[in-house]
């Protein structure tokens, strides 16, 4: 994979959490139903801590393969 492409993919993965929190999470602002016992907004915001980790790990793998971390 060439460097430029790797960087673009990594940036896209870095933007995904922003969309999840800033754009999508307000749609979860309701009292029902409780998901895993939590209100929808809390469930979404907590689960995205883990998903943000996965997105950034993906970005890291991309950059590593593109040789951007030397």
């Amino acid at each position: 994979m060439d460097k430029k492409r790797a960087f673009i993919y990594a940036v896209i993965l870095g933007i995904v959490p922003w969309i999840a929190y800033v754009v999508i999470s307000p749609a979860f602002n309701k009292t029902e139903p409780l998901i895993l016992g939590m209100p929808p907004l809390m469930f979404w915001d907590v689960i995205w801590l883990f998903l943000t980790f996965l997105c950034l790990y993906g970005a890291y793998r991309m950059e590593l393969r593109g040789g951007l971390l030397e």
């Binding site: 940036v11 870095g14 800033v22 999470s25 602002n29 009292t31 016992g37 801590l49 970005a59 950059e63």
Partner: protein
């Protein structure tokens, strides 16, 4: 046989923890001979574990306990912004930190102002950034100390007074920061991370299970007692939530204490791996939030919201457990406050002292930094002891004020035509707007966080 008082065990736990922190912090650097980079940024040699606990410890302060729990108790779901902006800041930092680190390596930067100096080649801008960093962070430091004093006071069942807690805490910090610099802070933060983990996942996480049989039970009760707590609601509605996420997510890197830890990374891979892992550290705030919500669901009335987490522990456990939480609060406050003290000392010596005396040698700057540690420590102590509460308004201003540097920092990365004049005028205009909105306008236009207006 004298009967031991109830407070004996918690006081022993807190004091043992304070002594352990001091010993580890001092031993980390007492035998080292530091040059300036060795002292302020640990010689750019931190591996993943120390870098991770250093950053996490700086970010999660006493207010991660007191404030987060208090907000959850008072308002409920609006506190979710605290989970969200952390994740956003790390996703942004994953990319931003690279430029900071590279500039640091190439031009031997050790402070935030150094980075601006390199990017804009402007001494005036560097001095401005250093001054903003110092002025806006002193109230933040003061608040950490007050949080520390308060949490130790409650944790010791009232045996250690708030002021005594502040004095002891600060002396300990000043000693290990003086001897060991950033290296001492990274070692003591390793201890903090372990204790925070214990407090969050063993002590606090069990609270909703004790009272409501689980998390679902907690929220079912809460939906009866305080249904508003399950959603964002005015004045902290969706517009407020989204604007705060953006402002805090981006403003995060305008805190000067973020920079030395970035420079401290031993290589780019370590730095990036650290940002990959940081969102997982935020998960520890979930038990803190649950503890705050439990107090709300039980229908308790608190005189001050910041008590919520401590109150939750008090009603759920035998009293000695408060000692562990007190020690945890001390650790959380000390790890943040010590990093701020060192950062301010770095700004003062590297960016302001060198203006007065450009010929200052590296070893002279180490001495100036160490003296500055003592100066800022004593200044913050005096403010915390004699002017408590008065600077809270300034603290609220701090985040917004710091964020005014954001356009200069970020557009400078991606937009080659951005120059020093634009950066300086942008920062000054932003500061003026924040001050105006905060002190004269008196409310947030359209409920959008006022700092965001000033940035734009």
């Amino acid at each position: 046989m004298v009967c031991l008082s109830e407070a004996f065990i918690p006081v022993v736990i807190i004091i043992s923890w304070v002594i352990l922190t001091l010993v580890v912090g001092v031993l980390a650097g007492i035998k080292k001979k530091f040059d300036l980079a060795g002292y302020l940024v640990s010689g750019r040699a931190l591996g993943l574990i120390f870098l991770y606990v250093l950053m996490a410890g700086e970010i999660y302060s006493a207010y991660a306990f007191l404030g987060t729990g208090g907000w959850a108790y008072s308002y409920g779901m609006p506190i979710m912004y605290a989970l969200g902006y952390g994740a956003l800041a790390y996703a942004f930092g994953y990319f931003y930190a690279r430029y900071v680190w590279k500039a640091g390596k190439e031009f031997n930067c050790v402070t935030q102002a150094d980075y601006f100096l390199v990017r804009y080649n402007s001494k005036v801008l560097a001095v401005l950034v250093a001054l903003i960093g110092i002025v806006f962070n002193i109230p933040y430091l003061q608040l950490q100390l007050q949080g520390l004093g308060y949490i130790v006071h409650v944790g010791s069942l009232g045996r250690i007074s708030v002021n005594l807690g502040i004095i002891i805490g600060l002396l300990i910090m000043m000693i290990y920061v003086f001897t060991s610099g950033l290296r001492g802070i990274s070692w003591t933060n390793l201890l903090q991370a372990l204790l925070m983990f214990l407090v969050a996942w063993v002590v606090l996480f069990a609270i909703p299970f004790k009272h409501f049989g689980g998390i679902r039970g907690l929220f079912e009760t809460l939906s009866q007692v305080k249904p508003q707590h399950l959603v964002l609601h005015p004045p902290m509605g969706i517009a407020w939530y989204v604007s705060t996420l953006i402002l805090c997510g981006l403003g995060f890197f305008m805190y000067p204490q973020m920079y030395p830890s970035i420079y401290g990374a031993k290589d780019l891979k370590t730095l990036k791996r650290n940002y990959v892992l940081l969102p997982l550290y935020s998960v520890f705030m979930v038990p803190v939030i649950l503890a705050g919500l439990s107090v709300a669901a039980l229908g308790m009335q608190l005189t001050r919201a910041d008590e919520a987490v401590l109150k939750a522990v008090e009603i759920s456990y035998p009293s000695w457990v408060l000692g562990i939480v007190g020690a945890g609060g001390f650790a959380a406050a000390a790890s943040t406050a010590s990093a701020i003290i060192l950062t301010l000392a770095g700004l003062l010596s590297k960016n302001l002292y060198t203006i007065v005396k450009p010929s200052a040698s590296d070893s002279e700057l180490v001495i100036v930094s160490r003296i500055s540690v003592i100066v800022f420590g004593i200044l913050a102590m005096v403010l915390a002891l004699y002017a408590p509460g008065r600077l809270v308004a300034l603290l609220l201003l701090a985040y917004s004020g710091m964020t005014q540097m954001f356009p200069a920092a970020v557009f400078g990365l991606f937009w080659k035509r951005m120059n020093k004049y634009a950066a300086i005028s942008g920062i000054l205009a932003g500061l003026a707007t924040v001050t105006y909105i905060k002190f004269w306008y008196g409310k947030n236009p359209l409920d959008i966080h006022f700092g965001l207006w000033a940035v734009s």
